[in-house]
């Protein structure tokens, strides 16, 4: 069935309400009428550590998500994990491919991608290889 519902940008209220509904154990707050902050814990596999994150989002910038505890570690060679922006934010998607746009819910994208990123972060420590694929800026 063809939908004639036009995909439109999600409002911050929609993002907050979706987060509170689907992830009631996270702490989700408005930080202004057009911005929000989420804190919570994600554990990528059943034997993994549990990682506390902070996610900040407003309607003009991409979502920013950072792991606050336990602190992300470098590997034995002193290298930083892959797919991290210099300020410590996770690089979860390629903007050019529009994998996340303002029409998407954080709950359906950024949150599960963060689990996946954490999974690959741990595997990177264990195998010395980033097995999650991805692209690097040229």
């Amino acid at each position: 069935m063809k939908s004639n519902f036009r995909v439109r940008d999600r409002t911050i209220a929609e993002q907050v309400s979706s987060m509170r509904c689907k992830y009631p154990h996270f702490t989700t707050d408005f930080t202004s009428h057009s911005s929000m902050k989420v804190t919570g814990v994600l554990q990528p596999s059943s034997r993994s550590d549990a990682y506390e994150f902070v996610l900040k989002y407003n309607l003009t910038d991409p979502p920013k998500i950072k792991i606050v505890s336990p602190e992300l570690k470098k590997n034995e060679k002193g290298e930083e994990a892959e797919h991290l922006y210099p300020n410590g934010y996770l690089c979860l998607y390629q903007p050019k491919y529009r994998e996340f746009t303002r029409t998407n819910l954080l709950t359906d994208t950024i949150i599960p991608w963060t689990s996946l990123w954490l999974y690959h972060y741990e595997v990177w420590h264990l195998t010395d290889e980033w097995l999650g694929g991805g692209e690097h800026p040229k």
Binding site: V41, L92, F100, L116, H120
Partner: protein, 379 residues
């Protein structure tokens, strides 16, 4: 359910994959089988001595019970074969041994193999690949199809042996569990379980314990505990646990209890010949027993660390120490590639309450939509 969704299957999947990585690989198994068939034909067609007799030729040892482990640092397997003459013969053990030696020398010459006369068997050396130890034996009586007398050259007499009975005993123990934890979890995912048919938790546990023994005694193997002792202990203490993790846990915990008893030592009797103590050497050379106790206690302590569940990063360090960096990395990589396959086929989700990656079949999980990790890669 995918393995990493559940604490028990997550570690068992890794243990299983590590055991897989140390065992005899399929291509070499096929080569061994071909060589074994060829030796068998050769003996069966030996006009001079063997042809008129009625006998079985079969593998015994770890190849029979599927607990093979690649030797650490080298790359040669042992294939143990028994030639089991069914009827009694008037010949002396020396004669049987000499005839086998003659027969195999001709075979070795034809195939340019090195041959070595050992105390009870003839060894064919398939250079750099494997050894085939051929044990000649005569069935002791008509009531027990498995008991054979084998010539012992040093003793100059027959000794009783029961390699096939031992194999049956071990397999009976391994099959105490109907369906292993991993079989169950695969069944739940409707994946083929054939892979696990012959790899019960007890077999996996024996492979891992042997592998760890090879690493533990790597620097000094003077008092290394033998495979037959470890395999027998494992079989005797096994209680039908469903997981590899619990199987190892139960075996090493039972060893710990037994060796800590105030009187006497742990004895490991041959399950198919109670008169034979595999550990009689431990009386005259207690260093062997001491080394075994230390080895078992180290494994016990490492297993306790895994039980604490201090996160996969710490567990990785423990598992690498126990079984080797290379095989751990190989197993972890293979587990992760399965996750990546699910991701590519859009069958991956993350549980809402925990974040744990799972299959999309769960209603309380968010599907992982396509994404491309992006950003710098700092070397």
């Amino acid at each position: 359910m995918i393995s990493i969704e559940n604490k028990a299957t997550q570690i068992d999947d890794l243990l299983d994959k590590m055991a897989e990585a140390v065992q005899l690989d399929d291509t070499r198994y096929d080569r061994m089988k071909t060589s074994y068939e060829s030796v068998k034909d050769w003996i069966e067609n030996d006009e001079i001595f063997f042809k008129p007799y009625n006998y079985d030729v079969y593998p015994h040892g770890s190849v029979r019970i599927l607990t093979t482990v690649k030797p650490f640092g080298k790359d040669e397997f042992d294939l143990d074969i028994a030639i089991h003459l069914k009827s009694n013969t008037p010949h002396t053990p020396q004669r049987i041994y000499a005839e086998l030696k003659r027969c195999m020398e001709a075979y070795a010459k034809k195939h340019s193999l090195k041959i070595e006369a050992k105390n009870r068997c003839i060894r064919l050396d398939y250079a750099g690949d494997f050894h085939m130890d051929i044990l000649p034996g005569i069935q002791e009586n008509v009531f027990d199809q498995n008991k054979i007398k084998v010539p012992d050259r040093e003793l100059g007499d027959w000794v009783s042996s029961n390699p096939r009975g031992y194999g049956n005993w071990f397999m009976g123990k391994a099959n105490l569990v109907k369906e292993s934890l991993l079989e169950k979890s695969l069944r739940a995912e409707k994946l083929p379980v054939d892979n696990f048919k012959h790899k019960k938790p007890l077999q996996r546990a024996v492979q891992l314990i042997k592998r760890y023994r090879d690493i533990y005694f790597q620097k000094d193997d003077t008092y290394k505990t033998s495979s037959i002792i470890l395999t027998t202990i494992a079989g005797q203490f096994y209680q039908g646990e469903e997981s590899i993790f619990d199987t190892v846990d139960n075996i090493i915990t039972t060893i710990r209890t037994k060796v800590n008893q105030p009187i006497g030592r742990l004895k490991v009797l041959n399950p198919v010949n109670a008169e034979e103590d595999f550990t009689d050497k431990w009386d005259n050379e207690p260093e062997y027993y001491e080394a075994f106790k230390k080895f078992a206690s180290h494994l016990y302590n490492e297993w306790q660390k895994l039980k604490m569940q201090h996160g996969v990063l710490n567990e990785g360090i423990t598992l690498k120490g126990l079984f080797g960096d290379d095989i751990f990395t190989k197993a972890q990589r293979s587990q992760t590639m399965l996750i990546e396959e699910l991701r590519k086929s859009k069958s991956l989700a993350a549980a809402r309450n925990t974040g744990i990656l799972s299959s999309v079949s769960s209603v309380s999980a968010a599907a992982v939509k396509s994404n491309t990790f992006f950003g710098r890669h700092e070397k």
